[in-house]
Structure formats: structure tokens, C-alpha cells
Symmetry: C2
Subunit: 408 residues, 2 copies
């Protein structure tokens, strides 16, 4: 017997029939003798409906009242799912965020969970009940209703699993797990059975949008085994866990877990900048002040006492960043400013990199064999990213997937 926390998103509970399907899934775990706690989102469409009403009244709706408004969405779902479970003969009880209670700070529309008291939930599951908890919401120290912001229901589930010391936290989505890369680009892409938190964080932040980064961070921090799986199809999904557990389970670890890529990239260059201490800050400070996030950065020292500076930003920000950079160039006496939004970033992620050399050179050779020019390179402990010309994206990802035998 295990204690399992499950999370179902808005699409999974989008209508009465789907809510009944969720009840069937929950019932199966209960039949197997597990204790089940379920966190749910608002029915899909509901948040938009409520937000539209609010915006009819206020362009920027009062945030405290916005939280009061939106939390009704999950409250409807918990009641209906509890009824659906009862109708199938599985005693169930619903809790809103404040009833658990899920205590957060007071930052409306993006509160952070501070503490969860699991006493009531553990009592109820101890009595054989399924406990259905409203995701995305909590209560502030002043007793106000708060919401956790984007991906909040995932966070609720992981935080509940941590607080209840659950054996596993299952996140049901519309995909059946985490893949070695996007199957639309590489049809042979394989679902991963296991992956580490760190790898998942690198993959998620690079565009494999299965889980919210925040919930993975949370799971990693509290070492909660996290499983991503489909609410529509059967299957074990992908288990996300710590490196240690990973090593115990798998004798032969793959070097590379997956290949992520992002099309939302643009490159900016400022050339012939007089090379003095503090020049990097003078160039990037104004960009950061405009709330533009800079990703990869390269500085090349020239021979004539000047330096060339290259960095990437999100494509949306390239025009603004270009203008700012132009002003900086005038001030610093730089030679030229260039921008290029026909680039993409490809990243290979794997904890195996820590102990294996030669991965980078295999990557570079593979791309060279395809005559793909590498414009920028960046690395972390478990990731190598390259920037290449946009038109080579599919070719590059497919070649790398083959070279590292990710389909095996």
C-alpha cells in the first residue's frame, strides 16, 4: 500500500464525462489498496470565462479579488469529482486550499506555498476516503484567498506529496511522458522511463513543456518522486527522480537523456567595442533594465584593443534590444550593431556528461558532418547548447538523435 498524490489538469476535468474518467482512474488505484489524494485544476475554459468577466469591469482587476474569483474554478471541480467518486462507491471528501490549509505568503496571483498542514488529509485517507484538493490556491497569513500563479496546480500536488511524505506524485497531462526529443521533429523519439530532476529542469526550460519548472524544482528540493503520465492513455509515463535513486535502478545509464531545442531565439552583436573593464556590464545593464532576459553570452577579444560581444534574447525582444544596443554603441564608440533572428538553440541534456568526456566532440563532429555551422556554444554540468542557423534545426536534431542512439 502506498500513498499517492495525483494531479489532473483543466483538460482532464474539462467536462462531466472527463471528470467521471478521472474518478475511474482514481478508483483503480484505490482498488489496488493505495491511499489517494487528488489535486485538480479548474475545468478548462473556466478560468478564461471568469477572467473575461473581471476584465469587463477592470482593465487590471484588483489582485486580491481576482484570487477570490478564480479560486471558484477549482472549488467547482473538487465538488464534482468528489460526487463522481461517491457515485461509484468510493467515499471522498473535498478540501479547498484554506480548508487543508495550504498556507502561502500574501502575494496575490503568484503566492508561494509556505506550509501545508497534512493532518486533516491523513486522517481522511486513514479512514479510507479519497481526498480531493483544490489546486492552485491557498490562504495568506491574513486569511485572504491566494493563488499560486501559472502551473500552480502542479505545485500544489508536489507540495502536498512532500507534506504528506507520499510515495509518488503523479502529474496527469495530455502527453504520456517525457521524450528524448520532440516526436514531431524526430519520429523515432522515445519516451524516457526515468530522468533526473536536473535533466528535467534543463529540458523543461528549453522548451519541452511538459511540467512547470517550479514544480520540478519543488520536487527536487523535497525529493518527491514525480511521474508524468497521460490522463487519456494507459502507460507508466516518465518517472522524475533524484540522481541517486536513478543510479540504484539503472546499472547502465545513458549518457544523454534528451535533446531540447528552441526556435524562440535571436542573436545580437556589438562589434569593435573599446575593451575596458566593465564593458560587459555597460552593454548588458541597459538590456536587463528593460526586463529583457539574456541567455547565451560570448565575448571575443580582437587584436586592435577592441572586443566583439554576442548574446541571445527571446525573439519578441530583439527589436527593443537592438535599439538599446544601438544607443550603447554610440556611447561606447563601438563600430557596429547587428541582429539575427534566424537562429535556433539546440541543447543536449544528460547527467552522464558529468562522468563522460567526448560528448561535446561527438556533437560537434556530427554537426560538422552535416555541414552545419556552430555560431555559439554554451555548457553547464549536464548540458551542451549550440546556436545554429534556423533552417538546419530538423537536420541537426535528427542527426544528433541518431548519433547518440536515443532511439535504442
Amino acid at each position: 500500500m502506498a500513498l499517492i498524490v495525483q494531479k489532473y489538469g483543466g483538460t482532464s476535468v474539462g467536462n462531466i464525462e472527463r471528470i467521471q474518467n478521472v474518478a475511474n482512474k482514481v478508483a483503480k488505484y484505490a482498488d489496488d489498496g493505495h491511499q489517494v489524494v487528488v489535486a485538480v485544476s479548474a475545468m478548462s475554459g473556466e478560468t478564461n470565462r471568469l477572467t473575461a468577466m473581471a476584465k469587463e469591469i477592470q482593465d487590471r482587476p484588483n489582485k486580491r479579488e481576482m484570487d477570490v474569483l478564480l479560486t471558484t474554478g477549482e472549488q467547482v471541480t473538487i465538488a464534482l469529482l468528489s460526487m463522481a467518486l461517491e457515485a461509484k462507491g468510493y467515499p471522498a471528501v473535498s478540501y479547498t486550499g484554506w480548508q487543508v490549509p495550504i498556507k502561502t505568503n500574501e502575494v496575490h496571483t503568484k503566492a508561494r506555498i509556505e506550509r501545508i498542514d497534512g493532518t486533516k488529509i491523513l486522517q481522511q485517507v486513514g479512514q479510507g476516503k479519497v481526498v480531493v484538493v483544490a489546486g492552485f490556491q491557498g490562504i495568506s497569513p491574513d486569511g485572504d484567498i491566494t493563488t499560486l500563479g501559472r502551473g500552480g496546480s502542479d505545485t500544489t500536488a508536489v507540495a502536498l506529496a512532500a507534506a504528506l511524505n507520499a510515495d509518488e506524485c503523479q502529474i496527469y497531462t495530455d502527453v504520456d511522458g517525457v521524450y528524448t526529443t520532440d516526436p514531431r521533429v524526430v519520429p523515432q523519439a522515445k519516451r524516457l522511463d526515468t530522468i533526473t530532476y536536473d535533466e528535467m529542469l534543463e529540458l523543461a526550460s528549453l522548451g519541452a513543456k511538459v511540467l512547470q519548472i517550479r514544480s520540478v524544482e519543488f520536487a527536487s528540493k523535497y525529493n518527491v518522486p514525480l511521474r508524468v503520465l497521460s490522463s487519456m492513455q494507459e502507460g507508466g509515463g516518465t518517472l522524475i527522480t533524484s540522481e541517486d535513486k536513478f543510479k540504484d535502478n539503472e546499472m547502465e545509464k545513458p549518457l544523454i537523456s534528451g535533446i531540447a531545442f528552441s526556435r524562440d531565439e535571436a542573436k545580437l552583436m556589438i562589434l569593435g567595442v573599446p575593451d575596458k573593464p566593465g564593458v560587459a556590464f555597460q552593454i548588458l545593464g541597459p538590456i536587463s533594465d528593460a526586463n529583457i532576459e539574456v541567455d547565451m553570452i560570448i565575448q571575443n577579444q580582437g587584436v586592435d584593443g577592441t572586443t566583439d560581444f554576442t548574446f541571445t534574447v527571446s525573439r519578441n525582444d530583439v527589436d527593443t534590444a537592438f535599439e538599446i544596443l544601438q544607443a550603447t554603441a554610440d556611447k561606447l564608440g563601438a563600430r557596429e550593431v547587428l541582429s539575427d533572428d534566424t537562429i535556433v538553440k539546440i541543447s543536449m541534456v544528460g547527467v552522464g556528461m558529468k562522468s563522460h568526456s567526448g560528448i561535446a566532440s561527438t556533437m560537434f563532429k556530427t554537426l560538422a558532418d552535416q555541414n552545419i555551422n556552430i555560431q555559439m556554444i554554451g555548457t553547464t554540468e549536464i548540458k551542451i547548447s549550440v546556436v545554429i542557423e534556423e533552417s538546419f534545426l530538423e537536420l541537426a536534431v535528427q542527426s544528433l538523435h541518431d548519433a547518440f542512439e536515443l532511439d535504442k
Copy 2:
């Protein structure tokens, strides 16, 4: 400066435009320097929408979860109304039932309010805020969400007014006050400026369905001045208050406040019952056991040691009551059982009856002048009811309205 509690029902907050109208009404009181606490219902249609979803899942939805589900309705309204007030420049804050808190017993779907802690609300109005409270809902001793059942939002408003020691509780409805009688029957019917709790209770229970009886009882118990007025039109409405206050305000009190009538009446007679002690109980006991409410009762002693027994019930119940009475007649050896569902009840209500004689005789003479036969008579301290043939209803009410000069 006064502290006013206002209540707006589902129709008054049925869409965004109407919510903004309500905000305008509230704003006017705030502009006049009053402190305002507002209790609101769910937007009209919302409760039906939610109930329909629940019934798709369970024929008899779990009552605890039904309360969780339905209370989202008012929670949406309080958020939107607070936003609308803020948008107009009036600081506002919303509270759900549990936030106030409005403490109830644990009877789901028809809980009773046990205690309201007004501290938070008084703090907020003291700081110049309008406080918007979700009607119809509360929190049980176990921390469960409860609802108050039919007319619950009126009850919330009156209970809040009592707890906050408010100067007035204003109930906004789709009528502009309480009338001397139904204007559809007597076009000259006049809106009453004032009426006592007792009179209102008699009128309400007799079919003048402006306010829920329960909220009037509550107002009477805690001596909360209650005003019924229209959310659509201007006007002072009708103030419902205690008899004492009434006397202070009006030197010349009208004898009669209003004429109520009910078409939902049927008469049952059991004739020639051997007259022994306990016969009334033997006749009415089985009726009551079938959950049929008996209204007026008359017993006529005959000359031959038998008695005739007549009583009225709701028209829906007449067939069932007739069958039960038939069985009783067989058991008791009564001569005959008769029923008549072509009768109506007309009631004249007025606290003036307490101190003035002659009202009954004027009433009887007025009906006699129109050749209307009185079949039954019943009286209380402030009411005289007669049962007459259905076809005379309009003539009777119009004649009595004229005779007592209620249009003056």
C-alpha cells in the same frame, strides 16, 4: 452617518452591467457618508447551472459537496462587485462566509446561523471600505462549507445587520415595496411606507411573497429595521419594524395594513363523527403523519351526539388527505367525507385590530353586501381570515380594499 447592510439578489447581479448598477447604488450611500456592508446572491442562472452539473453525476448529490459547489456562485459575485466598486473609486473588500466568519450548525444545504463575528467587517468599514459579503453561506463547527437554504441571502443580510448593530437592513428586490394587496387584483393598491414585523409575517405567509419568512422572523427577533425596496427603480420602499417604533413614527395608525389572499386552498369535511374526547386528534393525527399541513380548523357540534369537522389544506394535498380521511371515517363510523377545492382564503392584517373592535363586523358586512357567503372564519390577534367561493376572490378583495379605504 449610519451603518447600512444591503442585500442584492441574483437578478440584481445577473450580469456585469447590473453588477455595475449595484455598485452605483452602493456608491450613492457611501457618498452620503454612510458605512455600507453588502450581502449578495449568486448571479441569476448560476445556481441552476451548477446544480445541473451535479445532477448529471449524482441523482441526489452529496450534500456536503453540494454546498462546496453552490457557494462558488456568491464567491464570484463578491469578487466582481468589489472590482466594480474599486473601478468607480470606492475601496472595497470581499468576504466569503468562512472569512467573516458566519458560523452555522453542520446541517448541509439548510444550515442555521449560530454566530457572526463582526470584528473584521467593522474594522474594514471603519477604514472607509465597502465590505461585500457572500450571502447564503457559512462555515460549520468542523470547518466545512455550509449553505443556509432557500432565502439564505436575505437571512445573511439580516443576521449581519443584527451582529453589526446596523441602523438598517435594506433588501433590494424586483418589487418596490410591500403593497396593501396584490396590484394585479386591485389596481389602486398602495405601497405601504411602514409595516410591523408581525403584519409582514402574516402577509408573507399568506402569499405576498416579497421576503422570506425566515428573514423577517430573524429581523423581528433582533429588532433590525428592515426595508424592502427595488433594485431597479428609485423610492423609499417599505420599512418593516417593530410595533413600538411604528407607534413613535405614526400618530394615526391605519387599522388595516393589507389584504392577503391565497388560491392554494382546499376544504375537507368529515360529517357525523361520534363526538367523543380525542376525536380531533384521531382525525388530524393521520393527516399530520402524512406531512400534510392543516391550516384552518372548525368543529361544529351537532344535536344527535355527533360532530362535523372541517379543515383546509393546500390544494396539492387534497387527494391524499381525502383518502386518509375516508379511512378515518370508516374507523370512527362517521357519516360522510366531502372535499372542495374551489375555495380561497382572504386575510385582513393589521396591528390596529388589537385596539379596535368592529373590524370583523365591517368585513362581514362588506362581503354580505356583495352576496358573498363566508364558509369559514379564523382569527389571530392581528388577522381575520375568511374562506369563500373561489369565483368571488377579486370582488371580495376589491370591496374590502374600498371599504377600509386602503387606497387613501
